[in-house]
């Protein structure tokens, strides 16, 4: 390829002299080639965790919620922590796909496909928990308002758990649709690229007869904008609703109007951390560093820092309000968090979410990709502990001291959580194997970004 001139204002989004053909070729190469041994090993590990998780969940549903470490004081612990954890992670994908689209952030194009896939898999993992945490999960369908002849008997629209049902199902549906629609041009590319007749037929079906005409493209872009418009409010609403599970309760430590923005910020924080983890690993393994460049990682870092500060602000607000309110119960919850039996979880949370992310201000560290990888994992650990601290420490010591109790997880809860990681990574690995992890058509659209027309200028 000939040297393209480079812009004086913008860094290119795709590094190196890539042509359109190069893009297609680079992204489809890992899919068309045989999978590496590394992929098989990772898949085996993930699938084992998944199978173990499925067996554990089967055992738990057959025997009872008693197999968990919960008791009459602590009714929710790992189950709802994991639920909120996975839902929170999903928010990054939607933010990248939808909000960044509306804000015309072209750098989203190389990560949005994988991020949206991550969202879908995270929401699947999340949705498992509201079902299995029920005492009688075989009646889970009663949570849906379906017409019936028993009155008719409706559900309780005042209940935040019910809002969760609507929120999560809407979120999953929109994410899936948006992700699929976005996939269509790339599926068409795969159809056109594929060697076997079977593959051609398969991708032909799923690409819905994409012909690449201008009119098709116009409709496609409009549709994407509409879907982005629909998905954008979900980024804020879904986790706000999830936070209402706690905010609308009377329990001190849960009962706070701060929760919706606090949780949404936290969700984006943990979501971007997970995207960072996945992107750093996959771009290396699949040799897609030219597309998911260091500047992409830096952008995501900035979001991480911003939302991390918002989370830190939320923690301080909570503490301030607990003191300022003068409410003995509220004050006690926070003192108990910092000094009680779960103080270790609290301080892990503060260290991982507030203290360590401040290291990202140091440019030298921020530019170190391994450091970013470590930091993103630390943030996710911290965010898991945040949900755990909020849920468990608030209810284990509430109003009447006679009911104060302790909690510790059983192997069943740990295995279930591990199983969801197994599910997540199995799905993600399969996604990497069978579908293009970068939005080929969208990247092609920004191939010339940062590569301006006119005089050649050399950059230092």
């Amino acid at each position: 390829m000939s040297h393209s001139p480079v812009s004086s204002h913008r860094k290119p989004l795709v590094i190196g002299d890539k042509s359109y053909g190069d893009v297609t070729h680079d992204v489809l190469r890992p899919i068309e080639a045989r999978p590496t041994k590394g992929w098989y090993v990772c898949l085996m590990v993930a699938a084992t965790c998944l199978v173990f998780g499925v067996a554990t969940v089967w055992y738990q549903i057959a025997t009872g919620i008693g197999t968990w470490g919960l008791n009459k004081t602590v009714g929710w612990a790992w189950d709802i922590t994991n639920f909120v954890f996975w839902v929170g992670i999903g928010h990054a994908g939607t933010l990248i796909s939808a909000i960044l689209l509306l804000f015309r952030q072209k750098w989203r194009t190389s990560i949005n496909r994988a991020a949206e896939a991550m969202t879908i898999f995270a929401v699947i993992c999340a949705a498992i928990f509201p079902v299995i945490h029920m005492g009688r999960p075989w009646l889970a369908f009663w949570m849906f308002p379906y017409p019936n002849t028993r009155g008719p008997l409706w559900v309780n629209f005042r209940s935040p758990l019910l809002w969760d049902v609507f929120a999560i199902s809407t979120y999953f549906t929109i994410s899936l649709v948006f992700w699929y629609i976005g996939l269509i041009p790339d599926l068409a590319t795969m159809r056109d690229h594929s060697s076997s007749a079977f593959k051609r037929k398969l991708f032909g079906v799923f690409s819905l007869g994409w012909n690449g005409s201008a009119r098709t493209w116009a409709r496609y872009e409009t549709l994407c904008l509409i879907l982005a418009g629909l998905a954008t409010p979900l980024v804020v609403s879904v986790h706000s609703i999830v936070s209402m599970d706690f905010a609308t309760a009377v329990i001190p430590g849960w009962h706070a109007t701060l929760f919706p923005p606090y949780f949404v910020a936290g969700a984006v924080f943990s979501g971007f951390a997970m995207v960072l983890t996945l992107m750093i690993l996959t771009r290396k393994v699949m040799k897609l560093d030219s597309y998911i460049t260091d500047s992409h990682l830096q952008m995501m870092c900035k979001v991480l820092q911003l939302t991390g500060l918002m989370v830190a602000l939320a923690y301080s607000t909570e503490f301030f309000m607990a003191w300022y309110s003068g409410n003995a119960y509220e004050r006690f919850v926070f003192i108990n968090r910092a000094t009680g039996p779960f103080a270790w979880a609290f301080w892990t949370m503060v260290t991982c979410n507030v203290v360590l992310p401040q290291l990202l201000w140091i440019k030298r560290l921020r530019l170190n990709v391994m450091f970013l990888l470590g930091m993103s994992i630390i943030v996710n650990i911290g965010m898991w502990f945040e949900r755990f601290v909020i849920i468990t420490t608030s209810i284990h010591r509430d109003y009447l001291p006679s009911s104060w109790a302790d909690y510790s997880p059983t192997w069943v809860e740990k295995a279930t959580f591990l199983g969801t990681f197994g599910l997540f990574f199995t799905c993600f690995l399969l996604f990497l194997r069978f579908l293009p992890m970068i939005a080929i058509s969208e990247v092609k659209g920004v191939l010339h970004y940062g590569k301006g027309l006119g005089k050649e200028v050399t950059h230092g």
């Binding site: 009459k72 005492g135 935040p160 329990i251 209810i395 509430d398 009447l400 001291p401």
Partner: protein, 981 residues
Amino acid sequence: MPLLKWMGTMDDRIIDAPKYWQSIEGQPVSDADEFPSGFVEEIFEVVNANKSRREFLTVLGFSVAIPALTSCHKIPVTKALGFLNREEDTVPGVANWYASTCGGCEAACGLLVKTREGRPIKVEGNPDSPHSRGGVCAVGQATVLSLYDSSRFIQPLAEGQPTTWAAIDGKIPELLRTANSQGKIVLITGRVSSPSTLAVIAKFRAKYPNFEHIPYEPFSYSALFESFEKTHGLSAIPNYSLSDVDTLVSVGADFLGSWYGPVAFAKDYSAQRDVSKRKGAMLRHVQVEALMSVAGSNADLRVPVAAGDETHVLAALVREISTLSGRSIEFPALQLDAGLLTAVRAIAADLWKAKGKSLVLSGSNRVDDQMAVNAINELLGNMGRSVKLVAATEFAVASDTRFENLVSEMVGGKISALLSIDANPGYAYYAPERWKSGVSKVPLQISFADAPNETSKSAHYICPGNHFLESWNDHALGSGKYGLTQPTIQPLRATRMFQESLLRWAGETLDYYDFIRSHWKAQIFSRQRRQLLFEGFWSQAVHDGGIDVVEASHAKATFKNPRLNFDLGKREGLDLILYQKTGIRDGRHANNPWLHELPDPITKVTWDNYAQLAPETASKNGVKTGDMISIQKGTIHLSLPVLVQPGLGTNTVAVAVGYGRSECGKAGVGVGKNSYPFVAFAEGNYQRIQRGVQITKASGHYELALTQTHHVMEGRDLVREVSKAEALSTATALHSTQKEQPSMWPEHKPGENRWGMAIDLSKCTGCSACVISCQAENNVPVVGREEVLKRREMHWIRLDRYYSGNESNPSVVHQPILCQHCENAPCETVCPVLATVHSSDGLNQQVYNRCVGTRYCANNCPYKVRRFNWFEYSQDDAWGRMALNPDIVVRSRGVMEKCSFCIQRIQEGRLKAKKEGRKVAEGDFKVACQQSCPSDAIVFGDLADPDSKVAKLLEHQKGYQLLEELNVRPRVSFLPKVRNP
């Protein structure tokens, strides 16, 4: 109406059985008066194979009349047949109530037993019973479960082999004749207060003259009973009454928990402490004790002392009172700790001020201690008032000396036959080796025990007696009052009342029912004039559960100064005090899982016993709760986990008896450790307080299953206490401090009734009868020790116990917490499937079949009263299921449950009123916790009715609500605890 026709023995019943049950498949009935062999096992095979109660009922029909069959047919389980001719007075679905008397302990509280479809499912107090007046304790409530104990003997056994009653009756008299000629026949029983039983024993003695009847109680009151002979020249037992008492001093007697007759005491105690009813007067209660007992936790003044000092306190008190009265009582001078002496002086002054209106009690089993108490009561003018002596002619009380002599005679080979009922020395005798050697020398041992125990293990013949719910019996209650026990169900197994066995072997032809009748006709009927005919008199007595006649005349009591000795020898090491827990008592109820899971009112421990240490003692020995220690006295040692108990006497270790059973059903075996070996026989009685005990820290840690692990209120406004003066003021101090707060929800539309509850914290003693009553009424499952450790016990009502003040002598409060049935219930808004809703009469209702088990409601409940079924807890054995209340569903796993304000009883009352065409009135029904509370602390009723007791109570005294500031608007109010310092 009483069961009009008592069917007598199993043999008789077969012939009299209604025609349509005589055979299945139309087989002719054989004339066999023998019970077909293998028959009874077949029933139980069928029963155990088919786990459903419905199928069990198929076999036995809606009454438990057992059908006759020829010996060669197995029972086919074919159809469930309803009655063709319904038994008169029995409507399926409607309960029948029978008056009876409790056999849970010796207090003989009157009961009303609720039976459904021919089987008892609940016991309530009989309001007409003279001492208990409608109260029942936790043990009494739990006895209904022990009726269905699957470990009970099914049939008589001879040398371990099943046999028949006819065979037994053929063999035993001959063996007894032989035994009579070879040595002494001894019958050991519990304390007997039944005149008819004593008459039966007299008949037995007439037939076998070489006979002795020795009552035995492991935790006896023998010193108490002996003392009256010495001080008042009368063989008598005391009847206590607090009805005119202003000052009550108890030295180590847990009269509200397990001592003597806690239900009767609680009734009077609560009435005497009702400040508003008594217009300012209030009983003042002083407790001097080593143990933190239930009574002590309610005292206005509690003085913790070392266990060995309780005697010294009595010594000092006697001296003070004798000084104040000017009458001298002789005993050698004694040194007493200065601080204690000051306290005793103040107590004595108080007592003297309340001369004639006081009572002093002691839990000691030293005769000298009880004589001192008698002297004090005499000098204070309490005799004949708060202490009434009842001649022991109609009682046979346990004497420790006599029992000790018996064991010596056994070891000496002088006893040729040992018959035992309601006594388990094989477990509780303090020198098990000595007992074993004694028992091995008794050639004929017959046990009438209804379930296997350590004593029946060595018996040659097991002639199992009936449970009291299957028996006829009578009770002398003193002062001309008598109680009756009537059966509420045909015997479930081939068992027979032991009195019946004795009558047969004495050659009598009367059955025990007729015997009681003839005894009453002769001895009791003549002492009254209300009824002219015996049949009318008898029917009235059976209907009421007892009768009141003119007291039999007896010798007068005359006081003479006792010679007292308080010298206990040198002091060294620690003091050990053995005590009875409110639930397990002396160990006879060890196979009752309800009582094991009942949290001890003070320690809140379930399913175990432990060594209690005061905080100071524990830290001195470097141990904390859960650490193992080894307790040693002489050659006896026991290792137990420690429980640090605030308020326990210094230098004391306290261990409960009744644990460590080895031969009983699976609920009791191996639970806790047997501490009876520490009992010592000294000064003629079994002493439960020992000195010179050593404790050493042992290795290991044992988690005690506590239902409450945090014991202070953390400065939260949970239990309000007021002084007597504040309580009398025009209610402003007790007023709810919150004004009506705005609510975002519209008010619920009011219905005809507004159910509400008032709990008087001044009256609640923490006895926990309500907990078991609720468990029995509402089919609340038992979860077992492992689950309690995980904080998953299912009790719908719990008693929170908080300490305040300093550790060495804290102030204790008990607070019953149940679902508060909030108007703005936080649980109702959050259930996604509307499984918890609000009724128009103010109840928060849990709809079990709709619940999917998200547990959001439990998380959102600020009172934490909701209970979740973590596993399938409801699997009972087929027998245990018979205790279930058919008006309540049994919840499956994954479902939330909680107090429903006994909605089944509300509904019953409502329907009763509807049938009579009127509104529901006070007294149509009582909720379970309210009904069994001996202290009447719980008042339930219609707040919409201004004349209802609960409305009046709350109007005048203005109770407060728990966590008012949350604006959940609970329907349960608490009346503050009044202290009388």
